[in-house]
C-alpha cells in the first residue's frame, strides 16, 4: 500500500513537472493587423518597398500572417506618405483593405526568414523583412476609384519636366546624374539630359545679365532647357577602414528648384552604408537611390500644391523704350486677369520686363502665350520668342524694333 502510494506520488510529480502549464493566448480575429510595428528599410526599386514588419499571434503562422498584414497596412495607411491620405479614402478602402489583409500574398515580392522572435505577455512577436509591390497596391486602389481625387491633378498638370544638373562634372556626380535620370524615367517623368557640352542659350544669358544679381548657371541652364523643375546633384565619397580593409561611404546631396522662380522645393542628403566595394560607383548608386526616393516624394508634394494654387511661369517681355511702359502695363494686366495670386515683377527696365505668375489650369508656356494674347490690350502685336517649359519670352512693340538683340 505504502509502495503504491509512493510510486503514485512520484509519477504524479514527474507528470506535473514535465507537462508544465501552457500560457494562454487568445487568437486575434479582427480584419486588421494586430501589430502595427513596421519600419522602412529601403526603396529597392521604383515600385517596390522593403520594410521590417513585426507580426503578433499565438502561433508562428498567425504571427507571420500578421506581419504581412502590418506591412500592407503600412503602405496603405502608415508611414510618412500613405496611399490613403484622408478619412474619406480610408473609409472607401475598408472592403478592399480587408481583402488585402486576408490574402496579402499577391502584393509581397519577398519575405525573409524570421529576423526576430520573442514572446511578450503570452503572445509571439515575430519580425520579417518584407518587400512589397507598392505599384500593384496603388494600381489596385486606383482601379476601383478609391484614390480618384488624384486623377484631376494628373489631368490638369501632367508630370513636370525635370532637368538633372550636376553641381560639378566629376565622376561621382555624373554617376548620380545617370542614376537619377534612370530613376525618374522609370517613374515616367520627362527628363532633360544635361551633359558636359550643354550650353546656356544666348537669350537666357542676356536676360540673366539684364536682370542683374548673382548669376546662377544651373538656373540658367534649366531655363535654357525648359524644365519645370531642375534638380541639382552632387556626390562625394569618404573612405574608411574596417578590419583593416578599405571601405567607402557615399553621400549624395540633391536639391530641386522650380525653374520659373528658383524656389527650393525639395532638398535631401542620403548616404550609403559603409561598404567595401571594387567599384565605388555602386555606393553612389545606392545612396542616389535613397536620395531619389526622398526627393521625388517632396517634389510630388510641391507639384500637387501647384496644381491647386497655380503653376509658376517666368515671363519675359521684350520691347523698346517708347512702347515699354504701355506694354508693361498691358502684360501685367493680362497676367492679373489670368491669376488671382500676386504677379511678381523680377526685372523691369525701360524696354525689357520679367514677371513670375502662378497660373492655374495652364500646363505650359505655349498655352500661356495664347492666354496672354487673348487678354493683352497693349500696343502692337505679341510675337513669341521662346516657350520652353515654364519660361515664356515674347516681343511686344507698337513701332520699331525691340532694343535687345537676340542671336
Amino acid at each position: 500500500m505504502k509502495k503504491s502510494l509512493v510510486f503514485s506520488l512520484f509519477f504524479s510529480l514527474i507528470l506535473m513537472v514535465a507537462c508544465g502549464s501552457e500560457p494562454t493566448c487568445t487568437p486575434h480575429k479582427g480584419p486588421k493587423p494586430l501589430s502595427y510595428e513596421v519600419t522602412f528599410v529601403e526603396s529597392s526599386g521604383t515600385g517596390e518597398m522593403m520594410v521590417r514588419a513585426t507580426g503578433m499571434g499565438c502561433t508562428i503562422e498567425q504571427a507571420s500572417l500578421d506581419a504581412r498584414r502590418a506591412a500592407i497596412w503600412f503602405v496603405l495607411e502608415g508611414g510618412d506618405k500613405p496611399i490613403l491620405k484622408n478619412a474619406s479614402e480610408k473609409m472607401k478602402a475598408v472592403g478592399i483593405e480587408q481583402q488585402m489583409f486576408e490574402n496579402p500574398a499577391p502584393y509581397i515580392r519577398y519575405q525573409s526568414p524570421v529576423k526576430s522572435k520573442t514572446r511578450q505577455n503570452g503572445k509571439l512577436k515575430v519580425a520579417y523583412v518584407i518587400k512589397l509591390d507598392t505599384g500593384m497596391i496603388t494600381e489596385k486602389m486606383a482601379s476601383i476609384g478609391i484614390i480618384a481625387s488624384e486623377e484631376d491633378l494628373g489631368e490638369e498638370l501632367g508630370l513636370p519636366t525635370l532637368a538633372v544638373i550636376p553641381k560639378v562634372h566629376d565622376q561621382f556626380s555624373n554617376t548620380t546624374v545617370a542614376v537619377m535620370q534612370e530613376y525618374l524615367q522609370d517613374k515616367s517623368f520627362e527628363v532633360l539630359v544635361v551633359d558636359q557640352n550643354s550650353q546656356v542659350n544666348n537669350l537666357v544669358k542676356k536676360l540673366s545679365t539684364l536682370e542683374g544679381g548673382e548669376p546662377d548657371p544651373m538656373h540658367d541652364m534649366a531655363l535654357s532647357l525648359g524644365s519645370d523643375i531642375y534638380i541639382s546633384v552632387s556626390a562625394s565619397l569618404a573612405t574608411g577602414s574596417a578590419g583593416g580593409m578599405e571601405t567607402a561611404k557615399a553621400s549624395v546631396q540633391i536639391q530641386a528648384y522650380e525653374t520659373a522662380t528658383g524656389k527650393l522645393v525639395a532638398s535631401t542628403s542620403a548616404y550609403s552604408p559603409e561598404r567595401q566595394v571594387t567599384d565605388k560607383n555602386a555606393l553612389i548608386q545606392e545612396a542616389t537611390n535613397d536620395a531619389a526616393a526622398k526627393v521625388v516624394s517632396q517634389i510630388k508634394k510641391e507639384w500637387m500644391k501647384m496644381a491647386k494654387k497655380g503653376k509658376p511661369f517666368k515671363i519675359t517681355v521684350l520691347s523698346n523704350s517708347s512702347d515699354g511702359p504701355a506694354v508693361d502695363g498691358a502684360v501685367y494686366g493680362a497676367l492679373k486677369e489670368l491669376s488671382k495670386r500676386p504677379i511678381k515683377r523680377t526685372a523691369g527696365g525701360k524696354a525689357t520686363f520679367s514677371y513670375i505668375a502662378w497660373i492655374k489650369n495652364i500646363p505650359n508656356a505655349y498655352e500661356l502665350f495664347g492666354a496672354i494674347k487673348q487678354h493683352y490690350k497693349g500696343p502692337g502685336q505679341l510675337e513669341k520668342v521662346s516657350d520652353t517649359g515654364s519660361f515664356l519670352v515674347f516681343k511686344a512693340t507698337g513701332n520699331g524694333e525691340i532694343e535687345i538683340s537676340i542671336e
Binding site: 506618405k81 520573442t118 514572446r119
Partner: protein, 619 residues
C-alpha cells in the same frame, strides 16, 4: 485614360526611403546563427617534458590478498617526434573541428580552407612554428612572438583575400536589397567585414607537467587442466592537463591577442583499457608500447574535454534557429560541417518578456551532410519541453558520458541440493550500484547506435534476512550493460530496454568467523528502464530486471582445513531481482572512455581537399 494617368502620377510620386543601415535587414540575437570562425592551428603541440620518469608499482595478487611495493625501477620514456606529431594531430582534430575554417602554416605558404574553398597566401621564408619542449610561460612568449611578427600581416592578407568567399558562406547575407539586386556588386558592409575579420583565432596547446604512474601486477590463473600459471599485467595511469591557448586576431592592430586559456583534463584511470597482459615478465619494448597507448588515450581524453569546454563558449558553440517543426521533429540548417554528432543535445530557447527561457531539449538524430550544400538539414528530436519554428537552439556542451549512482535491490537465491540449505536472498538485498554509462551513438557518431548506451558497472548488496547458517550474504557484482533508449512524448521520459552481463558473487561469514561461504556466478540480467531526463546532464532512472545466473563456483572456507568445493551443492541455474533507482550525472571528463570515441567527422575536410586538388589541376 484618367485612371492610367493618375496611376502613372502616383507611381512616380510614391513615397519611399532607402537603406542606410544594413543592420536593419539582419537578424537579432533571437535568431542568432553560428558564423564560421577561422582558426590557425599548428601541427605540433608543446610539451613541458621531453621524457617522463614513471615510477612503477609491482603488485602480487594472491589468494590471501594483493601486496604491492614500489619497484626499484623507474622507467624513462622519451617522447619521440612521431609520438609528438600524433599527439598534435589527435588534439587538434578534436579542437579545430569542421565548424572552423582552418589555416594551415606550411613551409612557404599559408593556406585557408573555408567551408567550400581554398585560399593561399605566400609566407616567404618565414619558418613554421615548432613549439618544442618548453614551460607554459616560455611557450606563450614564443607563440606570441611568432604570431605577432610577420605571421600577423600574412594572416591578415589571407583573411582579406578570403573575405568575399567567407561572406558568401555566411548563414545570413543581405538579400533582396538594392545593392544585391540592382548594383550587382557584393559590397560587404563594414559591419560584415568587421565580423569576418574579428572571427579569426589561433589554437595552440601545451601539455603540462605529467605525474604518471604504472602498475605491474603478477597473478595466477588456472588452466583447463587445473594448473596454475603466472600472468603479468602492465598498466599505466597518465592523468594529463593540457593548456589550450586561444588567441584572437585584432585586424585593427594587426596583432593576436590572448582570448582565453583553457585547461583540459584527461581524468584519472586513463589506462583502464590499455592494460597489457602477458604470460611472462614484460620486456622494455612491451612496457613502452603500453605506455604510448595510454599516453595517446590520455591526450585524446584531454582533447575531448577541450572540445566540451569549447562548446561552453558562445563564440564557438552552435546556435541555430529552428526552420522546421512538426510533432517533435525539428529540422535545422546545420550538420557535419558544424561538427554535429548523432544524439548531440541542444537546448531550445526563447526570449520571453525580455529574458531567455529554456523551453526544452532536443537531440540530433539524422545529421545532415551539409559540407557543400547549405540546404541540407539535420533532423532532431524534441525529447523534453516545447518547441516551435524559429525557436533558438543552442548546442549543449556534452560528452555523452554519465556517472550513475544506483540504489536498489540486487538479489540471488541459490537453491541447495540434498540437504544444503538455500542461500542468498530473493527480494530484500539493498544494493549500491555504480556505473559509467556512455551513449555510443554520440561517442561513435553513428546513427545505428543512436541512444544505445554501454555501461561499466560495479556494486554490492547485502541480504537483510539471515536465512543461512552463514549469516547475511554480501554480494558483489560487476560487468557490462547495454541499453537502448526510446524517448516517449516530450516530457523527457524514456523507456530503456537492455541488460547486463557480468559476474555476480557473494560471501557470508558465520558469526564466530569460523567459516565463510562464497560463490560466484556468471549473470545475465535482462532489464527495463523507465527514465526521466531532467536535462542532458542529469537523469533519473528506475530499473527493473531479473538476474539469470549460472553458478560457476561455490566454496566453504575454513581457517584450519582445506576449502570445500560446494559448486555441486547448489542448483546451477539461479535467479533473483534486480531493481532500483539510478541517478545519472553527466561527466565532462572522459578518462579511459576516450578509447570509445570516434574522431570528429572528416568528411568535409576530405571534400575540401578533393576540391583543392581539382582546382590545382584546373578541372
Amino acid at each position: 485614360m484618367h485612371r492610367l494617368f493618375s496611376l502613372v502620377l502616383l507611381l512616380a510620386f510614391f513615397p519611399l526611403t532607402a537603406l542606410s543601415d544594413a543592420k536593419q535587414v539582419a537578424s537579432d540575437d533571437t535568431q542568432k546563427r553560428y558564423e564560421r570562425k577561422v582558426v590557425l592551428g599548428f601541427q605540433e603541440i608543446a610539451f613541458e617534458q621531453n621524457n617522463l620518469d614513471v615510477p612503477i608499482k609491482f603488485c602480487k595478487r594472491r589468494k590471501e590478498g594483493t601486496t604491492c611495493s614500489w619497484w626499484n625501477i623507474r622507467v624513462n620514456f622519451p617522447l619521440d617526434e612521431t609520438q609528438r606529431l600524433k599527439a598534435g594531430k589527435t588534439f587538434y582534430d578534436w579542437t579545430i573541428t569542421s565548424r572552423f575554417d582552418k589555416v594551415l602554416v606550411e613551409s612557404g605558404k599559408m593556406t585557408l580552407y573555408t567551408r567550400k574553398s581554398v585560399q593561399e597566401s605566400p609566407l616567404g621564408s618565414f619558418p613554421v612554428f615548432r613549439p618544442g619542449i618548453v614551460s607554459n610561460i616560455e611557450f606563450r612568449a614564443n607563440l606570441e612572438q611568432y604570431l605577432n611578427t610577420e605571421v600577423a600581416l600574412m594572416f591578415k592578407k589571407l583573411m582579406m583575400d578570403a573575405s568575399k568567399q567567407r561572406y558568401k558562406e555566411l548563414p545570413e547575407k543581405e538579400q533582396a536589397t538594392f545593392i544585391t539586386t540592382k548594383a550587382k556588386e557584393l559590397g560587404m558592409s563594414a559591419n560584415v567585414i568587421r565580423k569576418l575579420m574579428n572571427s579569426a583565432f589561433v589554437f595552440a596547446a601545451h601539455v603540462d607537467r605529467i605525474n604518471a604512474s604504472g602498475t605491474l601486477t603478477q597473478y595466477y590463473t588456472k588452466t583447463l587442466d587445473g594448473r596454475s600459471i603466472p600472468q603479468w599485467e602492465i598498466k599505466f595511469d597518465i592523468p594529463m592537463a593540457v593548456s589550450l591557448y586561444i588567441y584572437r586576431f585584432d585586424p585593427e592592430k594587426d596583432q593576436f591577442v590572448l582570448y582565453k586559456v583553457w585547461q583540459a583534463f584527461s581524468g584519472a584511470g586513463t589506462g583502464a583499457f590499455d592494460t597489457r597482459t602477458m604470460t611472462f615478465l614484460p620486456n622494455a619494448a612491451q612496457v613502452t608500447e603500453a605506455f604510448k597507448e595510454t599516453y595517446q588515450t590520455a591526450l585524446k581524453a584531454a582533447a575531448i574535454n577541450a572540445n566540451y569546454k569549447m562548446k561552453e563558449d558562445d563564440n564557438f558553440a552552435i546556435f541555430v534557429p529552428i526552420t522546421g517543426f512538426d510533432h517533435r521533429r525539428i529540422t535545422v540548417p546545420v550538420g557535419i560541417a558544424e561538427d554535429i554528432r548523432v544524439d548531440h543535445p541542444f537546448t531550445v530557447r526563447e526570449k520571453v518578456d525580455g529574458k531567455w527561457k529554456v523551453k526544452g531539449y532536443a537531440r540530433a538524430r539524422d545529421v545532415g551532410k551539409n559540407c557543400m550544400d547549405d540546404t541540407v538539414e539535420t533532423r532532431m528530436q524534441l525529447v523534453k519541453g516545447r518547441a516551435e519554428q524559429a525557436d533558438l537552439l543552442r548546442e549543449y556542451p556534452w560528452t555523452g558520458l554519465f556517472f550513475q549512482l544506483g540504489l536498489g535491490s540486487n538479489t540471488l537465491s541459490l537453491s541447495g541440493k540434498s540437504g544444503w540449505k538455500d542461500y542468498g536472498d530473493m527480494f530484500a538485498a539493498p544494493a549500491l550500484d555504480l556505473a559509467a554509462a556512455l551513449d555510443l551513438g554520440y561517442a561513435a557518431n553513428s546513427k545505428a547506435l543512436s541512444e544505445f548506451y554501454i555501461s561499466f558497472y560495479a556494486g554490492g548488496s547485502f541480504a537483510i534476512n539471515s536465512i543461512t547458517n552463514y549469516g547475511q550474504p554480501l554480494n558483489y557484482f560487476g560487468g557490462l550493460g547495454f541499453d537502448k533508449r526510446f524517448y516517449v512524448g516530450a516530457g523527457g521520459f524514456f523507456i530503456g530496454i537492455g541488460g547486463r552481463v557480468g559476474y555476480m558473487g557473494g560471501v557470508s561469514v558465520t558469526a564466530d568467523d569460523d567459516y565463510s561461504l562464497s560463490y560466484g556466478t556468471i549473470s545475465l540480467t535482462p532489464r527495463m528502464q523507465l527514465g526521466w531526463s531532467f536535462t542532458p546532464s542529469f537523469e533519473l532512472i528506475v530499473n527493473a530486471g531479473w538476474n539469470l545466473a549460472f553458478l560457476v563456483h561455490g566454496t566453504i572456507e575454513q581457517p584450519s582445513t582445506a576449502d570445500i568445493d560446494t559448486t555441486d551443492a547448489y542448483e546451477t541455474f539461479t535467479h533473483g531481482l534486480n531493481a532500483g533507482i539510478t541517478f545519472s550525472f553527466h561527466l565532462p571528463i572522459v578518462g579511459a572512455m576516450s578509447k570509445m570515441y570516434s574522431k570528429p567527422s572528416k568528411e568535409c575536410d576530405a571534400l575540401k581537399k578533393n576540391n583543392a586538388q581539382k582546382q590545382e589541376k584546373g578541372e
